[in-house]
Subunit: 320 residues, 6 copies
Amino acid sequence: MLVDLPLDQLRDYRPEVPEPDDFDDFWAATLAQARSTPTAATSEPADTPVTAPRVEDVTFPGFGGEPVRAWFVAPPVPGPLPCVVELIGYGGGRGLPHERLGWAAAGYASLVMDTRGQASTWGSGGGTPDPHGSGPAHPGVMTRGIESPQTYYYRRLVTDAVRAVDHVLTRPDVDPDRVAAVGTSQGGGLALATGALHGRVAAVVADVPFLCHLERAVSITDAAPYSEVASYLAVHRGAAEQVFRTLSYVDGVVMARRICAPTMISVALMDDVCPPSTVFAAANAIPVPPTVEVYPFNGHEGGGQEQWLRSVRWLGEVLA
Amino acid sequence: MLVDLPLDQLRDYRPEVPEPDDFDDFWAATLAQARSTPTAATSEPADTPVTAPRVEDVTFPGFGGEPVRAWFVAPPVPGPLPCVVELIGYGGGRGLPHERLGWAAAGYASLVMDTRGQASTWGSGGGTPDPHGSGPAHPGVMTRGIESPQTYYYRRLVTDAVRAVDHVLTRPDVDPDRVAAVGTSQGGGLALATGALHGRVAAVVADVPFLCHLERAVSITDAAPYSEVASYLAVHRGAAEQVFRTLSYVDGVVMARRICAPTMISVALMDDVCPPSTVFAAANAIPVPPTVEVYPFNGHEGGGQEQWLRSVRWLGEVLA
Amino acid sequence: MLVDLPLDQLRDYRPEVPEPDDFDDFWAATLAQARSTPTAATSEPADTPVTAPRVEDVTFPGFGGEPVRAWFVAPPVPGPLPCVVELIGYGGGRGLPHERLGWAAAGYASLVMDTRGQASTWGSGGGTPDPHGSGPAHPGVMTRGIESPQTYYYRRLVTDAVRAVDHVLTRPDVDPDRVAAVGTSQGGGLALATGALHGRVAAVVADVPFLCHLERAVSITDAAPYSEVASYLAVHRGAAEQVFRTLSYVDGVVMARRICAPTMISVALMDDVCPPSTVFAAANAIPVPPTVEVYPFNGHEGGGQEQWLRSVRWLGEVLA
Amino acid sequence: MLVDLPLDQLRDYRPEVPEPDDFDDFWAATLAQARSTPTAATSEPADTPVTAPRVEDVTFPGFGGEPVRAWFVAPPVPGPLPCVVELIGYGGGRGLPHERLGWAAAGYASLVMDTRGQASTWGSGGGTPDPHGSGPAHPGVMTRGIESPQTYYYRRLVTDAVRAVDHVLTRPDVDPDRVAAVGTSQGGGLALATGALHGRVAAVVADVPFLCHLERAVSITDAAPYSEVASYLAVHRGAAEQVFRTLSYVDGVVMARRICAPTMISVALMDDVCPPSTVFAAANAIPVPPTVEVYPFNGHEGGGQEQWLRSVRWLGEVLA
Amino acid sequence: MLVDLPLDQLRDYRPEVPEPDDFDDFWAATLAQARSTPTAATSEPADTPVTAPRVEDVTFPGFGGEPVRAWFVAPPVPGPLPCVVELIGYGGGRGLPHERLGWAAAGYASLVMDTRGQASTWGSGGGTPDPHGSGPAHPGVMTRGIESPQTYYYRRLVTDAVRAVDHVLTRPDVDPDRVAAVGTSQGGGLALATGALHGRVAAVVADVPFLCHLERAVSITDAAPYSEVASYLAVHRGAAEQVFRTLSYVDGVVMARRICAPTMISVALMDDVCPPSTVFAAANAIPVPPTVEVYPFNGHEGGGQEQWLRSVRWLGEVLA
Amino acid sequence: MLVDLPLDQLRDYRPEVPEPDDFDDFWAATLAQARSTPTAATSEPADTPVTAPRVEDVTFPGFGGEPVRAWFVAPPVPGPLPCVVELIGYGGGRGLPHERLGWAAAGYASLVMDTRGQASTWGSGGGTPDPHGSGPAHPGVMTRGIESPQTYYYRRLVTDAVRAVDHVLTRPDVDPDRVAAVGTSQGGGLALATGALHGRVAAVVADVPFLCHLERAVSITDAAPYSEVASYLAVHRGAAEQVFRTLSYVDGVVMARRICAPTMISVALMDDVCPPSTVFAAANAIPVPPTVEVYPFNGHEGGGQEQWLRSVRWLGEVLA
């Protein structure tokens, strides 16, 4: 059933979402630090029966220069190619090399980024550790390091995603003017963040994005992973102010204000994991109105493969 | 948690599963009738952004000559190619053309068969009707036409699968000596049936197969779709004998006794949808012992993409 | 808990519900076709230990002249008698002959109509097939044939109900001026339809009726069977317009506008299966305001046997 | 799914169930006390639209002479008639006068006994108080007064049932040699008790009976109402011995040893409310083997109306 | 997630809650009757390994002079001491003597009152019977005796709580000018009632109080124990008026209007057991605005031990 | 309901549980390293309204010398006192200073150890970080660092517990010959480990202990937190051997073989969180048979405060 405001109200939903004064400085410093590490990316052929698109097993330097795994998949044609950087949903990882062949089949190179410290809840796993401890935390990553923006888990993961774009920009087989950030759920939140924080991202596709309008999200749904924050605050009863301050540094609404690239956002009206008002709050905050695809009868699966089709067609125009 | 017998007992689990005297005649007549219809398959280019493997939108004659949709996906190389006929799980359909690119990426042609009258519960749908009515039935297809083997839904769906093999055998781009039937869950049950009923199937891969040892399955799990039969019998209290007689014509254990091709079966020990004893009952009934892949900590998702990897490698040897 | 609008808003709830231009033509043609089949009803004594009301096992021609089973139950008194045509809830059938003795005990003849293709989810079953196939469909009957009004399941079931009235009008033991259509849930939706489409229905009792204001119903509840439509649309993402067009031909609100007979409707404010706003939308669309019985603390069981009492008393006045 | 031992083991299941030494004295004294109260039964016409079977609103003296409500329903024929005393399931009451017309329709008088202090969880209620307090108790009646056999709730309810038989024996319209005790679930447990404690009961029908083999029942199911006892013992950790001693005075297995009348018992193999081993324990304890009807695919709904049919036919032979 | 109105609306939520004309007379008579019984309280050393605070096992006369158990716990210092009378949540009892040592550790005497007839759902039990029968009732105490204010369960329990205050006022080790009534959930409802009905209560602490704004509570939540009333009314369909009249005699909103002592109330915005609007309705009805502690991310556990801390500090000021 | 083997089989349940060859070396090295850090414990008065037992806010060096928080609570009497080191259940922390006053009230000093990185799921929190990253992990701590015994989370937590004992042994107010390790669930598992690894522990009380017979536990229950391991293995399909090798270093059965101190273990037969066979496997592995308290009708709440009573009495004898 519908889980949020009626669609006509959603289309105009523009809540006040505060942002910290030092938001831009925070990210500039974080990214500068990450980019200052001397580590180089490495690549080797993937161990896979896939022969037709070529698949490389890539390790690139992410947050703090720490190694992040990825698959680079590209059609067997001379480049440079348009390229998508694909970010993954909560609990998942880069999986196995053959799992995401659609982009190559449609003529794109793609870099599928692993998710540090996750990759153990669904799918086929991944291999990227998150070598950082945490204060007291609720199970899951939503409250790991939430005691400050500096220590927060998503500071690291967002940085990884920005650095993934950095990586593809260095590749001779990628056309640096046609790089898109794409993802679903957590991956959609990361795509928005990457679009906000990396000036070379030429297009953003965020499907049923997570991490948007976090204070509202935590209040209006019982579904994980937003519920992790409410559970944490149910125990740490005085911590709300600090927690929401930390979260504001990764909030998709705050990110959205900084997105200049063309953006497509999809939203599902029966999605209680990433409720539609939180998604519209981000969509409506992007200075240039994004393309919004609405799926009225879907939950968090959203538009699924139908939405992938629409995004391919849209990217075909945007990156032409 | 483990949902069935301990693994050491499963490995030797060989229950008595009765089969009807006219089983072979029934299927011979059914297939002969289907093959006697004059309808020809048709094919046109699929509407898809996929360019690299070529995708055809196929309609072939299934049960009673009725049209069945399928995608034919093949790598852009000269054939004839080894080919898998892929059957789909309960509630799903052939979906969109780009969804199953792995086989082509690994060098195989594949025909992804739509599922008549289903294709509306998960995934991206399908377009094959089931133009047959039914007696009183529980929601779902498990009891549609269950009043007799002649009218039973799965008589039609199994015939579709056999006819799908017939279709690929006619194609010049397919090597008729290297055709495999593969599928997961309902698709695994259909793969076993196809291996039993079609002499040209050179290999069978049945992952967490459905439709096996049906009388036990109906008794030991509350999970759908087996529960549809128990629900039907809870209302039609005197119908058990007739119902299980009908089911015996499609039981994977009975089918298994007739499989001559090399077979790989995967099974998950925490799978309450297709409980492991029903799967082992089928595996242990195949005259030549099949390769059995056991996933001790998985539910009905089974081996997932890891199992696909193993099946590709196994097929590479079997169809070499 | 209350699942919908507050009662004071419900009492005035009159949403715009579109109706197709050819609604009346559609039904006129459908019923004319059904009535043009030459099949006659048959009747024999029921196999039952019931001796006091007499029970006949009736088969009458329904949609397309197809056979529909029913029990005719009447007190052992000389007629002609007032008669109720009783329609059954989703998943049920006519059951066993002794199950519905109340009407006879209160002095009414009754015809309990079986439900084609259902009768396998609760109760004691039934024996009426639905000899029509379907396009891709979600389990259950809500989306069977939903691709067009012509092929939709409920076109057939509504026609059966109208033909059930036709049948009792031909019986010498029934007073043709005192025939009521009654039912609960799906049976209530059918009672409304029968009241709209059959000019000889002298009274309608629709308890917690299903099939009303379908577009809203599909959006505001997760409960089956309305959820079947949402599930179908979650897979068939582009089909909403066609689906709701089909549904508009059986929508209880559209039917209600055509009801001339006195009508009693009951509604339960904690009913998430047939949410109260959908019921009030129908009630408030009947030109002559119906009697509305409100049960504030009940779910879909509604008024139960208490409501049966009220309906008997109300019918006693209306059909006097 | 099957919830208990396999059927072949159930057929021979004869556990040791201890009985208190003073069991017979306890009940003799209890019944003597109840019968010594001078209260007389009263009767008046029921307020109901039912005209054909006559319905009386009866109040008879139960435990301690306290008033117990009942409906007496009889076909409008000259008696004396065979009569069933019908006991009701947990949480229910005698409901409305028109709810149970089957027995009269089949030629039997029936007395539908209300359930003291219950009648507020399902159905149409009832009007019999239970004017006795209790020690600390878990919600529900299973632990009310469980601190001793004297104060236990079911001492009172069983006595009511025995006194209901006493009442019908006094009626001129009832044939005192053809009185049966019947019931489902709690009503089935009461039927067994009545058959054990009242010498004039000529037949017993206990469908999916409750209150059997209580120590096992409490251990093997989480379903209410047996779970009430486990919940109580989870708080009153030292009380198990006393609790099970109290329960032994009403245990259907102990009662069964004392049943001389022909008995029919029905059992459902997927019934987790009254698990089949507890029912077979009682059935196998009756000195003359009862007729046992097994429903392999039903839960606690058991044989439902089908079982009613079987019981009518069986009673027709037994009481002929 | 948030389960009720937004916080800003809650702060001003002042619904009309009717009160019976004879409310004050009813309670005056009830208390006078209770106080007129000649029974005296008794006390003996508790059987416990606790040595440091002294613990007495107290039995005092409650409703109708009936014995009510309690623990009296006090620090080993010369009195007279400030004292809290602690009332317990639904389903619980006084438990074991060592369970509630916080008050003594903070310098308070405390009397932990047992809950008549409950004490069997969680915790360590209790030993106070409720020697009163009931009309038909739903499991639990919410509908026991609900047919009239005279027979209602909570008339007795509220009287017990008032009499508990009477008891501590007689003790030489208690300072009669520094007695507070405190409790959580049901205990919070009792604390409000005690504050309203006993003139010597010097402070009230009601945490997530139950029994407030009962007509709304029954309508807006499905959670037990409020759901017991809705379940009862779903069966007793005509009883709503009488039921809510009875409930009005114990409604915390009506009580609140009569509270003169300083009061602290805590409320949790995700509490579906005692929804926040029902709590604010009571808080906002107290003539002198109480201290309200809001826990935005908690369910019915509310502020837990953090709230205990705040209440100790607040009491320290109020009772100074 | 009973969730595991029958009690008579449990009493003799002694499965083979393999232990790594270097188990003792591993722990010797780990503890030596921890003890070699020069950090000293600190203590200050706790911020609490508790006056009677004195409460200190302690920080002691745990694994790797990292700071671990604790409350030290002691009766206001001259020591040295017997002392319990209390370990906390999964998801909890040391909470607030006033929460655990029972030990002091009974004459014991106690040190309530915080749980590194947890303390955010229930209760009142805690303040001890876990400053160590992790490989890919499932939400929760069960699979954090599970890739090797060196990096595994529980290596650190067990070491903290051993170091907590080290700390109390240094205190002048504690009698070093009368120190017990106690805890429930995870705390029980830690108590067993502490008893095995620290030679000065004079008594162990492990209530419904976690972390025992881990390979079986992961297979026989779906309940968290054991399910975290199964979920991890469902994704990391090839990791079982390494995972169970890591777990064997903290398995309570392996620990139990090394316990020399008198031990009390409690177990609940309806506990699906820590199934009774896993608890008996540990209990039966202790060389000197422990005192085993069985709670037949409890789930994971086990004996609760009743068990605390028994443990106090038992400790009174053992530490006399």
